[in-house]
């Protein structure tokens, strides 16, 4: 029994030295880690590669009012306006004018990526039904 323990102990020490050829295969947990990691990386790389081969679309903005979040503020209304970049490129330092219930407000967006939405809250004299916007300038990607 003691000899067996010594042999086992030697085996285990051998597994930890640089010179040994004896190594072990992964356990079930190790195989699970390998496969999950491989799956995650394949998914990540495939998603990026798929997007990379899609045609580029220029920066293009849409705007809409989040009607459900309009709330009164004294004699006026606070109106959340959502701006979405529907292009496939990022725009930097965006300057835009939004017109809500006849009132024009300037907004600035430091950075907005593809399909990203940014919400600004502007004041309006009455609860509006729609919004229009005009892009003044932005830094091209």
């Amino acid at each position: 029994m003691n000899e067996m323990s010594e042999i086992r102990s030697d085996d285990h020490e051998a597994a930890c030295t640089a010179e040994t050829e004896q190594t072990y295969s992964p356990t079930i947990a190790g195989w699970a880690a390998r496969l999950v990691s491989l799956g995650l990386m394949v998914t990540l790389i495939s998603a990026i590669a798929y997007q990379a081969v899609q045609p580029d679309t220029p920066v293009r903005f849409s705007s809409r009012i989040q009607q459900e979040d309009i709330r009164p503020n004294g004699s006026e209304y606070l109106v959340p306006v959502e701006m979405v970049n529907e292009g496939s490129q990022t725009a930097l330092n965006v300057k835009a004018e939004v017109v809500v219930a006849g009132r024009m407000t300037e907004i600035e967006i430091p950075m907005i990526g593809q399909q990203e939405a940014v919400t600004y809250v502007v004041t309006a004299p009455q609860a509006p039904k729609s919004v229009t916007h005009r892009i003044v300038s932005y830094e091209a990607p």
Partner: protein, 286 residues
């Protein structure tokens, strides 16, 4: 044929015999700890979130490939296992990438950087860019947080090659914390060419001081055939640092050698100050 080690198989882990399953879980836990310890600052860095929105897809793919290769090299010298009881470092490189993905995703979600309504593609790129750093942290976990490592000294037979590898790995690890930030660019805007030149000389001096002058460890240069003087080592290490800096500046969209020399050269020199110091640490550790 797929071989599986029995969960109850006794494995040497440090000074004790433990069940293989427990050692496996412990190793993976070390990987997660290393990923967060090294890279949590970058997960909290706004410039990294911004880079995810601007980095070209193919650059991100290339750099993920570079990260995978670097991770394999880091695993050769450090790793997340206290004892090298599994042979395949390439599979371990896959595992640290997976650890990096999970660590990045969880942290970005809980910090609100990835929100429920975010565009899927943007979320993927955020995770991708952060995975470069978190996977690197997992692959040096033992070196950063523990004692011992699963390195195999026999792998680097050439003493000259150790200089290159140490400079490469240490420089990359250290510079990755600074490269995504605006600060090197801001520094360059504050400098004139005299200060840029002084930065270059300082980088060489710091590299020489850290490795040769400070004598943290005994060094035997007689085994080397090419890089066999301290000053030449500092020069070679600086060139490696400069190359790494240029690559990182390209990846993070600040400058490439195709830009006017007045644009990219000062930035590369500024960042190389950081990279050179990291390379010095890498050569000390190796």
């Amino acid at each position: 044929m797929i071989r599986v080690t029995n969960w109850d198989q006794l494995i040497r882990d440090g000074d004790e015999d433990c069940r293989a399953g427990e050692v496996e879980l412990r190793d993976i836990a070390r990987g997660f700890a290393g990923a967060l310890f090294v890279s949590l600052p970058l997960l909290f860095t706004m410039e990294m979130w911004a880079v995810a929105r601007t980095i070209p897809d193919w650059v991100l793919l290339v750099f993920l490939g570079v990260s995978f290769t670097f991770n394999k090299l880091y695993l050769d010298f450090a790793g997340f296992r206290r004892c090298a009881w599994q042979r395949s470092k390439w599979w371990d490189a896959v595992i640290v990438m997976g650890i990096g993905v999970i660590t990045s995703l969880v942290t970005l979600v809980v910090t609100g950087t990835i929100k429920p309504g975010i565009d899927l593609y943007l979320g993927v790129k955020l995770v991708g860019i952060e995975t470069m750093a978190t996977s690197l942290g997992a692959s040096v976990a033992i070196n950063q947080l523990g004692s011992g490592d699963s390195s195999d000294d026999a792998k680097v037979s050439s003493a000259d090659l150790k200089v290159l590898v140490g400079s490469l790995l240490g420089g990359f690890l250290f510079a990755l914390n600074i490269a995504p930030t605006m600060e090197p660019k801001v520094i360059v805007l504050q400098q004139n060419w005299y200060l840029t030149g002084a930065t270059l000389l300082l980088s060489l001096a710091v590299s020489y001081l850290t490795v040769a002058l400070a004598a943290f460890d005994d060094r035997d240069l007689s085994k080397r055939k090419i890089v066999n003087s301290e000053w030449f080592e500092a020069l070679v290490a600086y060139l490696v640092a400069f190359a790494i800096s240029s690559m990182l500046l390209w990846v993070f969209g600040f400058a490439t050698p195709l830009d006017p020399i007045q644009v990219w050269l000062p930035q590369a020199i500024a960042l190389a100050y950081v990279t050179a110091l990291g390379g010095a640490a890498g050569r000390l550790i190796l």
